[in-house]
């Protein structure tokens, strides 16, 4: 207490954002804990199962990071699921039927993501069309293109360089969580390369949002668009770039998704946009923009993943239960946001 100003400082106050993030983290722990207790006999609590949640949701995680960036500006993008599907299909068909090389395909796909995002972003930022309408058209366009590329399911050939990637196991260092299976073989928990990519992307996004001018301008635009413009930020450019980023992340997420499923089908990843949006919202990103970060989104994705994992472990429940629970959670968090917003309004 050497600094005299500290005496007059306001008492530390827990803001509504912190409360929301706490709720999210507690919710995750409760969900996972409940799983560990309920399915103790099925070894839900094993580290590998936890890692499996990550492995299964690596693509979603990357896409959700992209959506978080868009939502920070107060926008939204519902095309990511279809973009993921289109990416998978393009990759699979490219490798299996067109005989293209993995590297060229990956580069092409990422470029498609950039262009796709740029077109959507231009319509939204410069032509001032509602983001929902634009990205809904994007959703149907990408979904349709998936079917145009191929109407059938196409598998990724394992002998390709890309296919080989799916085989790589990154084992936990120091054999953390290792156990002997029934045959007495030491099983070291592992993740796939996609998880590494996803976590690196989370880290990069986190740093970008916190330490770059662009990252901060995303928050500023979401906080108050008019003010941001008056303070000298290029609001339109920021919005455009956020959509470019989002679609780029979606294609990258699509590649990871493809490594996980090793195939492309026209109906793949339906509703993934919903999972991505709900992950971001559950993770504390405000729909009105300006608040949120990718760490929250990471927890949101983990909650989503845990729910599907729980439904799977149950074995009797219909898979759509996961969708319903996610929707209920989304609804709950949206209402929570609305209530917090009302309280704030009233204080003024």
């Amino acid at each position: 207490m050497k600094n005299p100003t500290l005496h007059n400082m306001k008492k530390p106050r827990i803001g509504s954002h912190t409360i929301m993030l706490m709720i999210t983290i507690v919710l995750f722990i409760v969900l996972y804990g409940a799983g560990c207790v309920m399915y103790a006999n099925k070894e839900f609590g094993r580290l590998q199962n936890f890692l499996n949640v990550l492995i299964n949701n690596a693509g979603l995680l990357i896409a959700a990071c992209g959506i978080t960036c868009v939502m920070l500006t107060g926008g939204i993008d519902i095309s990511v699921g279809s973009v993921v599907a289109m990416t998978c299909m393009f990759m699979s068909v490219g490798l299996a039927e067109w005989g293209m090389s993995s590297g060229v395909l990956i580069a092409m796909i990422l470029c498609i993501g950039l262009v796709f995002g740029a077109v959507q972003g231009y319509c939204i930022a410069y032509l001032e069309i509602q983001p929902f309408i634009v990205t809904m058209a994007g959703l149907f366009f990408a979904r349709g293109m998936t079917a145009v590329i191929s109407k059938e399911q196409v598998s990724v050939p394992f002998d390709s360089w890309f296919g080989q990637l799916s085989q790589i196991k990154v084992e936990m260092p120091f054999q953390i969580g290792a156990y002997l299976n029934k045959k007495g073989v030491l099983m070291v928990p592992y993740v796939r390369i996609t998880v590494v990519v996803a976590l690196v992307m989370v880290l990069i996004t986190f740093l970008m949002l916190r330490y770059t001018k662009f990252g901060r301008s995303l928050y500023a635009v979401g906080g108050n668009q008019q003010s941001a413009a008056l303070m000298g930020l290029n609001v339109k450019k920021t919005k455009l770039l956020s959509h470019v980023l989002c679609s780029f992340y979606a294609t990258l997420g699509g590649l990871c998704f493809c490594l996980n499923t090793m195939c492309g089908t026209p109906t793949q990843a339906t509703g993934l946009e919903m999972d991505a949006i709900s992950s971001a919202v559950i993770g504390g990103t405000l729909l009105t923009g300006g608040v949120g970060n990718v760490i929250g989104t990471l927890f949101g994705v983990m909650i989503n993943g845990t729910i599907s994992s729980l439904v799977k472990f149950n074995g009797k429940l219909v898979a759509s239960w996961a969708n319903i629970i996610t929707a209920i959670l989304l609804c709950f968090f949206i209402l929570l946001q609305a209530i917090f917003a009302k309280i704030k309004e009233r204080k003024k």
Partner: protein
């Protein structure tokens, strides 16, 4: 020249022109294929029912037309769209078949097997759709959540719920009493009749009550409407509820067509068709004034496009590519900066003319 400009400004110009365009393309294709030039318009009787491509379009377009009715009101009052209608259709269908067949039963074909009477199932289906609409309306009107975010919840959940109701299976109701809503009543396809009834009822309601004024007024200027004594929240809630009702009816028609609750596919992507119909009908997606006739013509135009695409060998899964492009074109034309640009250009042109 002036007259021409006046005509292009009319709200029905866009839907009618696109309708004619689609017809012309069909005629063109027929000529290329060596069919009779006006094969497209031919209507004949086969096996005691009406037959022809026009009839087919009217028949298949019924669901879109019904959905477009509700969507028009929603767009007008809340300047947002209800993207859950397709899923709600599925929910209504699932609820209906589940009620008729009983939970967990996959197929019924005789009266003795029915868990509940058919009418009861249909009423339940429509009721649950109304409920879904009211839920959307509540979120939008009272919790002040952006329409599309609010309806996103049911967009995902309603279909999942439908799957749940049907125990993750396709429930068949193989009974003529049920099939009739999707097949023929006499020589005329029943969906056409149902769509006509829906259109007539809504048009009558708008004509004989002041609801149209209420909805448009709220959509144009919420604050002024409030001062003039309107309760905008209630009106928005009502619009969403009506939208749910129509989604329910469309869902029942669609279910009856395939006499089964194929919840994964009922109403799939139909929300886009409905929104497209509204936009194509010359209605601004920014809310305010609406024109029901435009939306209806828009709906059948969409169906004509779909039918044409399918006839040319484009699959159902691929068709969205074209529709997405059309919808983007329409909203780009409607976008304020684009309008501004054209206004400026025509102003510059006329200035040049005056100078000369």
């Amino acid at each position: 020249m002036n007259k021409l400009r006046n005509i292009t400004k009319k709200q029905l110009f866009l839907p009618i022109i696109s309708m004619i365009l689609v017809m012309l393309i069909n005629v063109l294709f027929d000529i290329i294929d060596g069919n009779a030039a006006f094969d497209f318009f031919a209507i004949s009787m086969k096996n005691g029912v009406l037959y022809g491509r026009i009839v087919d379009i009217l028949n298949r377009g019924s669901e879109i037309a019904i959905l477009a009715l509700g969507m028009t009101l929603v767009v007008s009052a809340s300047a947002g769209t209800d993207i859950s209608v397709g899923s709600v259709m599925s929910l209504a269908g699932g609820m209906c078949c589940m009620m008729i067949a009983g939970f967990g039963v996959t197929s019924v074909s005789t009266v003795a097997e029915l868990a509940h009477p058919i009418w009861f199932g249909i009423v339940c289906g429509i009721l649950v759709a109304i409920l879904a609409g009211a839920f959307n309306g509540f979120l939008v009107a009272y919790m002040k959540i952006q329409p599309m975010v609010a309806t996103l919840i049911l967009w995902s959940a309603a279909r999942a719920l439908a799957l749940l109701l049907c125990n993750n299976m396709i429930v068949y109701v193989r009974m003529d009493e049920f099939k009739v809503f999707g097949s023929f009543l006499g020589p005329i396809p029943t969906p056409i009749i149902i769509a006509a009834i829906c259109i007539a009822v809504l048009a009558a309601v708008l004509k004989f009550t002041a609801l149209g004024t209420y909805i448009q007024s709220v959509g144009i200027n919420k604050r002024a409407s409030r001062i003039a004594g309107f309760n905008s929240a209630n009106i928005i809630l009502m619009c969403y509820t009506i939208c749910g009702l129509f989604a329910g009816i469309a869902g029942i028609v669609n279910t009856s067509r395939i006499y089964s609750a194929d919840t994964n596919n009922i109403g799939l992507n139909l929300e886009m068709d409905a929104i497209l119909a509204v936009a194509l009908g010359g209605n601004s997606l920014g809310g305010g004034k609406f024109n029901l006739a435009g939306s209806i013509i828009g709906a059948y135009t969409i169906q004509a496009i779909t039918t044409t695409l399918l006839a040319r060998g484009v699959s159902t899964a691929q068709a969205p590519v074209f529709k997405a492009i059309i919808i983007i074109l329409i909203v780009v034309i409607q976008a304020p900066p684009v309008k501004e640009f054209f206004k400026k250009r025509s102003a510059r042109k006329s200035a040049v003319k005056e100078a000369v």
